[in-house]
């Protein structure tokens, strides 16, 4: 019997501005005991698929059979029963998933107690498998990210579910923690004989699963990882991934030429993104753009040193990446360069100006004059359009309405969202929102752009697009870009890379 069987699944979300189709005829089958990785760009419907399989929502149409129960037809009570007894759930944000008031052992034992059972031996065995026996009495806040996610995995599998649903279980973990969590997850799943449906952007995770599927625009688009096979749906539509289109320079129109066994698509008018006006005059650049001189910073009551005696220079018109594991000080260095914080010791120079001792207003003036900043959390105003969001940032920096509109249009075009300029921000995908943030940061024409985890929480395709934009801005636009990231793609694309260890 299949663990999951979906046939022509549709699901609509009702929103204030209208209905959005998250799934548009998805068909899928997961065998019992099979582990399947689900990949796809943001907004493709991956999370919706998981929500339907978990019984948190009902399909709008089509059929969905989970563990032998027709989830579209059974009563809510029965659906809840299936979820409680037979489905385990692991989420991306472990720090939000675990009750902070309970100990590790209590969290892992909770699913059993909720079923009216008590099995301390089972709890101990799980913790041993996860390497957390000694931390049984610890609270989640006392654990690292990887440890917390391992607790979440143990809790999800404590009741020996027949299906495990995991949504980006390694999304917020570094590489080492990712490996540990994936290994534990798949081991315990195999032990429980459960099928697993794992949404991920991480190729490591995908490689560890038995099967990989790609979802795009609410449908199954491909299977496999290295050379994904594109799916032609029942109506004969074939969807080309954006990466493929961009690599081929294909715009809105193509001509198809078919021969036996082959269909060739020829671009009518290849497009190429153009970089807006250069801001910087060559004679303005003098050697080093940003310099850190024995910078030290500590946080917390115990004065834990995050960076200690760091000295580095960042050359102009380059893409620099500060890499390192979580807690190594990447974001701290970025914030010091942005004059968002002050070092405990050392000096920070940006554009020939010392910024480590500026007061609030001086720092704000400095940032207006010199900097652009992109954080990893999108703070776009969701009821404003993409264009309005960019314009807002420009007007706050003192640009008049007309100039702000002109710049917003130009930079939206540069990031490839000119046609979505009037769409509300909350109707854009995560990647599109990140591009808006990038446009917003670059529209004023700063000398320096600081980006904190610019590709975080994005699917790989979206992340690659961001990376290309950053490269273009640095090399063609003349902007000095410093990005803090642990994304290997971004590190690979960097002109220079500063790797931090914890505390140095």
């Amino acid at each position: 019997m299949s663990a999951v069987r979906a046939d022509d699944l549709f699901h609509l979300y009702r929103q204030a501005h209208g209905d959005v189709a998250a799934l548009r005829g998805l068909s899928l089958e997961v065998a019992a005991g099979e582990s399947v990785a689900v990949l796809g760009p943001s907004g493709s419907g991956k999370t919706t698929l998981l929500a339907l399989c978990a019984g948190f929502a009902r399909p709008s149409s089509g059929s969905l059979n989970v563990l032998g129960s027709a989830f579209g037809a059974i009563s809510g009570r029965e659906l809840s029963r299936v979820r409680r007894t037979s489905i385990g759930i692991v989420r991306q944000h472990y720090h939000l998933s675990l009750p902070h008031d309970l100990s590790v052992a209590e969290i892992v034992g909770m699913p059993l107690r909720l079923l009216g059972r008590s099995d301390p031996a089972r709890v101990t065995a799980l913790l041993r498998a996860a390497g957390l026996v000694e931390r049984a009495r610890a609270r989640p806040a006392e654990l690292s990210g990887g440890e917390q996610q391992r607790v979440a995995v143990c809790a999800a599998l404590a009741k020996r579910p027949r299906l495990l649903l995991a949504d980006e279980p390694t999304g917020e973990l570094d590489a080492a923690a990712t490996r540990t969590v994936v290994s534990l997850l798949l081991e315990l799943t195999r032990e429980a004989g459960a099928a697993a449906l794992i949404v991920t952007h991480d190729p490591t995770v995908a490689a560890a699963c038995a099967r990989t599927i790609h979802i795009r625009d609410g449908r199954l688009a491909a299977e496999g990882t290295t050379r994904p096979v594109l799916i032609v749906d029942e109506q004969g539509w074939l969807r080309l991934p954006r990466a493929v289109r961009e690599e081929a320079g294909v715009g809105e129109r193509v001509r198809a030429q078919a021969t036996w066994g082959k269909v060739e698509l020829l671009a009518e008018r290849p497009t190429r993104a153009s970089v807006p006006e250069r801001r910087l005059e060559p004679q303005e650049k003098r050697g080093t753009e940003i310099a850190l001189d024995r910078v030290t910073k500590s946080y917390g009551k115990r004065e834990q040193s995050v960076v200690s005696g760091v000295s580095w220079t960042f050359a102009p018109e380059r893409l620099h990446v500060i890499a390192g594991p979580s807690g190594s000080g990447k974001t701290t260095l970025l914030n010091l360069q942005a004059a968002l914080d002050r070092p405990d010791d050392g000096q920070v120079w940006v554009g020939g100006e010392r910024v480590d001792s500026l007061d609030g207003d001086e720092a704000a003036r400095f940032r207006r004059r010199v900097l652009g900043y992109v954080s990893q959390h999108s703070t776009l105003v969701d009821f404003l359009s993409a264009r309005e969001n960019v314009e807002l940032a420009l007007t706050l920096r003192g640009f008049d309405e007309i100039e702000a509109r002109r710049r917003a249009d130009r930079w939206l075009e540069w990031v490839g969202l000119d046609k979505l300029g009037d769409r509300r921000a909350d109707r854009l995908s995560g990647g599109e929102q990140r591009r808006i943030s990038l446009a917003r940061a670059l529209a004023p024409g700063p000398r320096v752009l600081l980006a904190d985890e610019p590709t975080a929480h994005l699917d790989r395709l979206s992340g690659r697009m961001i990376i290309r934009l950053l490269e273009s801005a640095a090399r063609e636009g003349g902007t000095t870009i410093v990005a803090a990231s642990h994304d290997p793609d971004l590190v690979a694309a960097a002109d220079e890379c500063l790797v931090l260890d914890a505390g140095s």
């Binding site: 204030a16 948190f56 809510g76 809840s80 029963r81 979820r83 409680r84 007894t85 385990g88 759930i89 692991v90 989420r91 939000l96 998933s97 675990l98 009750p99 008031d101 309970l102 969290i107 909770m110 699913p111 107690r113 909720l114 079923l115 009216g116 059972r117 008590s118 809790a155 999800a156 009741k159 974001t331 701290t332 914030n335 942005a338 968002l340 914080d341 002050r342 609030g360 207003d361 704000a364 003036r365 940032r367 207006r368 900097l371 900043y373 954080s375 959390h377 703070t379 105003v381 969701d382 009821f383 807002l392 940032a393 007007t395 706050l396 920096r397 309405e401 940061a441 004023p444 904190d452």
Partner: protein
């Protein structure tokens, strides 16, 4: 076991969360318990106030008006066999009454003379009798008895025969204590109190019937408010049983008083419950408001439990347990606290344990528990995230329906009309109105605020700071709406409570002035001693107006005769009482000068004389009527005259110094009993002369005087005359002309009599029911036995000082009515009251407007209401302030990341601070504005709520809602200042943290 564990796990989870958040748990317990405690406190306040009120009210009553009295008759020769039964019945109320008094009054012991001597025996003369002169009698011995005269005119020392061989010596004069005998006519014209019955006296009285009165007055210190109903029922049952068991037994108890006291207490308790309920609802709303800030956390917990495998029921149990556990604890603590407080109050005041039950009746306990449960439910709902951009849903629909229902009910049933409410009581829908208004306001603001903020953002696009402020507010519309709603509700509640309190105070002021009508008012016997100068004489009579529909019926009315020129000075008047102004009314009531006056006797006149003769069938008695300075009358008889001229003399007593001669009567000394007799003839009088120190002087002639018209229409004729062969040459002659009312009096300016009436038309102001009986503007008033035609010059709804049957009255100028009634019959109607508007407080004052107002304000129930209102108002304002600060802090805390991003984009901290302050100010302004509107609407409701006053009586004049402008302005100013302060302080603190820390968090 499995099921128990499955159900217990979420409860244990909730308990763990409560334990790890002691501060917030404590806040929940405090707020929900506090809300329940407010209800209990109002009940305790009401109970305490009612105790004081009952005690004060009973103490004000004379003992007779608060006594259980059982009266029965004994018929000779039977013994007094009813005594034990009656005494036992009365003794059964020993827990609430004072000592039992027993009086036995034998009916007249004089044969064939029912008005003869009555023997009175009291069980305890020393406490039942007050000796005004002499002493109390000692025991009777043999044929001699000592007695105290209770009625009659025998002087002390006189002897009164009581029967053969028994004589009573009067050793004193006195009276029974008030309240021992309700019907004082039982004492007859001569009542003698003896200490005991000697055998001879016993033999005498044994042959006569007697009336036995057993009384026990309710003791104000032992009658408790919480047991009033029980006492009343016991009295009612006892009275019924006594009367049914024996037809000769009559019992009486102040059941009406007790019922009224109970009703007052119930009304006051209900009103305090309403006010406290509003305050409690506000406290719960505050807790719910705080809970909205934890929606995200609540949703997170829900997701955590669901992911761990909890079912929907288990999730609900966890959420409910986390909310209802503090609610239960808070409610239990509140109950315990109030119970302890009631015990302490009871112990301090020496009240029995029943007071605690009275302070915390089952109804109050139910309400307290309901508040706790409702509070918990509201918190549960508040923690559920709701998309404020969602469409028009069930919440909005129910709010609109509720509001529509209230408006329709109030407009069609007159629930907001003070007169209507005063008649029919407060409609239940009115009691719910404030809560529903708050609910509707909240729902409305939830819709309006986000739209307003978005509109503000659009309009402020050219001003970055303003735009930023609106933008940030519009990003979390739910939060802004919640803060706005709470502020509006808090301010609205505060204004409502303050206005309610101000209205009660104003009502006490107006009520006192309306009831008294002047600064001081003397009534009763003290009026006789007033020499009207500063004080105005007033007559208050009862009359009847002939109704036209149904014909022949009579409408009883109050007749108030007050000097027209003093109407503009009367206190308690409102222009809404009548269409014409007071000045116009005064002019209309006295269109011409009317005054009964005549020649004045000199202060040193000691003798009056006049030559007189009468050519009549029988001698005529010449009687002079004088009007004294105190508007009383006195007569002076000069003697009889007949055919021969005779000089009549009379000594002028000092009491007539300055008196004015206002009538001369030619009284017949004999009147044959015959239908055919018509008195005829004439009486001649010379000029009246008074002897002063300086000698004899003549009084002005009475030739211009008018003879009265008798009821049968006959009238004498008076004219000046010359006399021949007489000791006086000139004088006046009065022709009898068949009249049986031979009296002449000054014209006094009275209008000529209307056809069919002895009196001419008098101008009057009438109430509407009286005016409706007018035909051609005329009604007939029968007052003091006379039919008086009234010409109505205006209508009025109310008139100050007329509080009994306030809607059936006529007001007439005092001089006019006084002349009209007394001209023909001197002494028919004299002033019953003296009103003082200025000057020092008279020595003997029955009614004092300041004291009356003080009494109303100090009434325990009114004081309790004011106390609860003050607390509710202050609490609402304080919660509004706290809510404002917390909302500001919470909002800015939730926007740390956004603010940090703006700073990273290059917006200066100063600009962000200003934008944050502006945002707080905008959101608060909406809330304050809505709160002011709510307060305005609340003013409409206040009249209905205060319709039965703090003293639970029907209000006169009708309640006028008062806006407590100073206090309201103060609260509003304080909240505005708090807005500024909160905005400045909180925004400063929020932005003090480095942006990097905010980004990191």
């Amino acid at each position: 076991m499995k099921r128990f564990r499955a159900a217990g796990t979420p409860i244990a989870f909730a308990w763990r969360r409560l334990r790890t958040r002691p501060l917030s748990t404590f806040a929940l317990v405090l707020s929900l318990g506090g809300a329940a405690a407010l209800i209990g406190w109002s009940s305790l306040t009401a109970a305490t106030a009612q105790e004081d009120s009952v005690r004060a009210h009973l103490a004000r009553l004379p003992p007779g008006e608060r006594a259980l009295e059982v009266v029965y008759f004994t018929v000779p020769p039977e013994a007094d066999f009813r005594a034990p039964t009656v005494t036992d019945a009365v003794r059964g109320f020993g827990d609430v009454t004072g000592p039992i008094h027993r009086i036995r009054i034998w009916h007249s012991i004089v044969p064939n003379n029912p008005l003869g001597t009555r023997i009175v025996l009291a069980d305890d003369p020393s406490s039942d009798v007050a000796a005004h002169a002499g002493r109390l009698p000692s025991s009777c011995a043999g044929a001699r008895c000592e007695a105290l005269a209770l009625t009659g005119s025998e002087p002390v020392g006189s002897r009164v025969p009581l029967g053969p061989h028994v004589t009573a010596t009067i050793v004193g004069r006195g009276s029974l204590r008030p309240g021992l005998v309700r019907d004082r006519t039982q004492l007859g014209q001569q009542a003698l109190l003896v200490r005991s019955l000697s055998p001879r006296l016993r033999a005498i009285v044994a042959e006569h019937a007697s009336t036995v009165a057993t009384t026990a007055a309710l003791d104000p210190g032992r009658v408790h408010a919480f047991s009033l109903g029980n006492v009343r029922e016991r009295l009612r049952v006892t009275i019924a049983e006594l009367e049914r068991s024996d037809p000769l037994v009559r019992a009486h108890a102040p059941l009406g008083v007790l019922r009224d006291l109970t009703h007052r207490g119930d009304v006051a308790r209900e009103r305090l419950l309403i006010v406290a309920g509003e305050a409690a609802a506000l406290v719960v709303a505050f807790a719910a408001f705080l809970a909205t800030a934890r929606r995200r956390e609540s949703k997170l917990v829900e997701e955590q439990l669901t992911d761990l495998g909890a079912g929907r029921t288990q999730v609900f149990i966890a959420r409910a347990a986390e909310v209802f556990a503090p609610a239960v604890v808070g409610t239990v603590l509140a109950l315990a606290a109030i119970a302890v407080a009631a015990l302490v109050v009871g112990h301090t005041r020496g009240l029995p344990i029943g007071f605690v039950r009275g302070a915390l009746p089952s109804r109050t306990i139910v309400v307290m528990v309901a508040v706790g449960v409702a509070g918990g439910g509201l918190l549960l709902v508040s923690q559920t995230a709701r998309d404020v951009r969602a469409r028009f849903g069930g919440l909005e629909l129910s709010a609109l329906v509720a509001l529509g229902l209230i408006v329709w009910q109030m407009s069609t049933t007159g629930a907001l009309t003070p007169d209507e409410v005063a008649r029919n009581g407060t409609a239940p829908v009115v009691l719910l109105a404030p809560a529903l208004v708050f609910f509707t306001t909240g729902v409305l603001l939830l819709r309006v605020v986000p739209l307003t903020l978005r509109l503000g953002e659009r309009l402020g696009r050219r001003a970055p700071l303003i735009r930023l402020a609106f933008l940030n507010a519009a990003r979390s519309p739910g939060h802004a709406a919640a803060a706005t709603t709470f502020l509006a509700v808090a301010l609205g509640s505060a204004l409502f409570s303050l206005n309610y309190r101000a209205t009660i105070d104003r009502q006490a002021h107006d009520q006192a002035r309306f009831a008294v009508g002047a600064n001081w008012r003397m009534t009763g016997r003290s009026v006789a001693g007033v020499r009207f100068g500063h004080a105005a004489p007033v007559m208050r009579l009862t009359g009847d107006v002939n109704e036209t529909d149904p014909a022949g019926a009579e409408l009883q009315v109050r007749v108030l005769a007050i000097p027209a020129k003093r109407i503009t000075d009367v206190l308690g008047w409102r222009d809404s009482f009548a269409d014409p102004s007071r000045a116009a009314i005064a002019r209309r009531l006295r269109p011409s000068a009317i005054r009964l006056t005549g020649p004045a006797l000199a202060d040193d006149a000691r003798t009056l004389r006049v030559w007189a003769r009468a050519q009549t069938d029988f001698p005529r008695l010449i009687v002079l009527d004088f009007l004294l300075a105190n508007q009383r009358f006195a007569q002076l008889s000069l003697g009889a005259v007949w055919h021969d001229w005779r000089l009549l003399r009379a000594r002028v007593p000092r009491s007539l110094d300055g008196a004015r001669l206002v009538a001369v009567q030619y009284e017949a000394t004999q009147t044959p009993i015959s239908f055919k007799y018509d008195p005829e003839g004439f009486v001649d009088l010379g000029s009246f002369q008074q002897r002063r120190r300086s000698g004899w002087s003549a009084l002005p002639s009475i030739a211009s005087w008018k003879p009265t018209i008798a009821p049968d229409g006959t009238s004498g004729i008076l004219f000046a005359s010359h006399f021949a062969h007489a000791p006086v040459a000139r004088g006046v002659r009065f022709r009898v002309n068949g009249t049986r009312q031979p009296l002449v009096h000054p014209a006094a300016g009275l209008p000529p009599p209307s056809p069919g009436f002895q009196i001419g038309e008098l101008s009057a102001l009438a109430s509407r029911p009286v005016a409706d009986q007018a035909v051609n503007g005329l009604v007939t008033l029968v007052v003091a036995g006379k039919a008086v035609p009234l010409h109505l010059v205006g209508r009025a709804g109310l008139f100050p000082s007329i509080v009994n049957d306030p809607h059936d009255f006529v007001v007439i100028d005092y001089d006019t009515l006084f002349a009209a009634l007394n001209a023909d019959q001197p002494g028919l109607a004299v002033p019953t009251e003296a009103w003082s508007f200025t000057g020092p407080r008279p020595a003997r004052t029955a009614l004092d407007v300041a004291a009356a107002e003080r009494r109303l304000r100090d009434d325990p129930l009114a004081a309790g209401t004011r106390k609860v209102l003050t607390v509710a108002g202050v609490l609402a304002a304080a919660l509004g302030f706290v809510g404002l600060v917390l909302a500001t802090r919470s909002t800015l805390a939730s926007e740390r990341l956004v603010l940090a991003e703006y700073e990273a984009l290059g917006v200066s901290p100063r600009a962000l601070r200003r934008a944050a302050q502006l945002r707080v100010f905008v959101v608060s302004s909406i809330g304050l504005g809505a709160g002011v509107l709510g307060g305005v609407f609340g003013v409409l409701l206040v009249s209905a709520f205060v319709a039965v006053t703090g003293t639970a009586g029907n209000p006169l004049p009708p309640i006028v809602a008062v806006v407590a402008w100073p206090a309201a302005a103060g609260v509003l100013a304080a909240l505005i200042a708090a807005t500024f302060a909160a905005a400045a302080f909180v925004s400063g603190r929020a932005l003090r943290e480095p942006p990097a820390a905010r980004l990191r968090a």
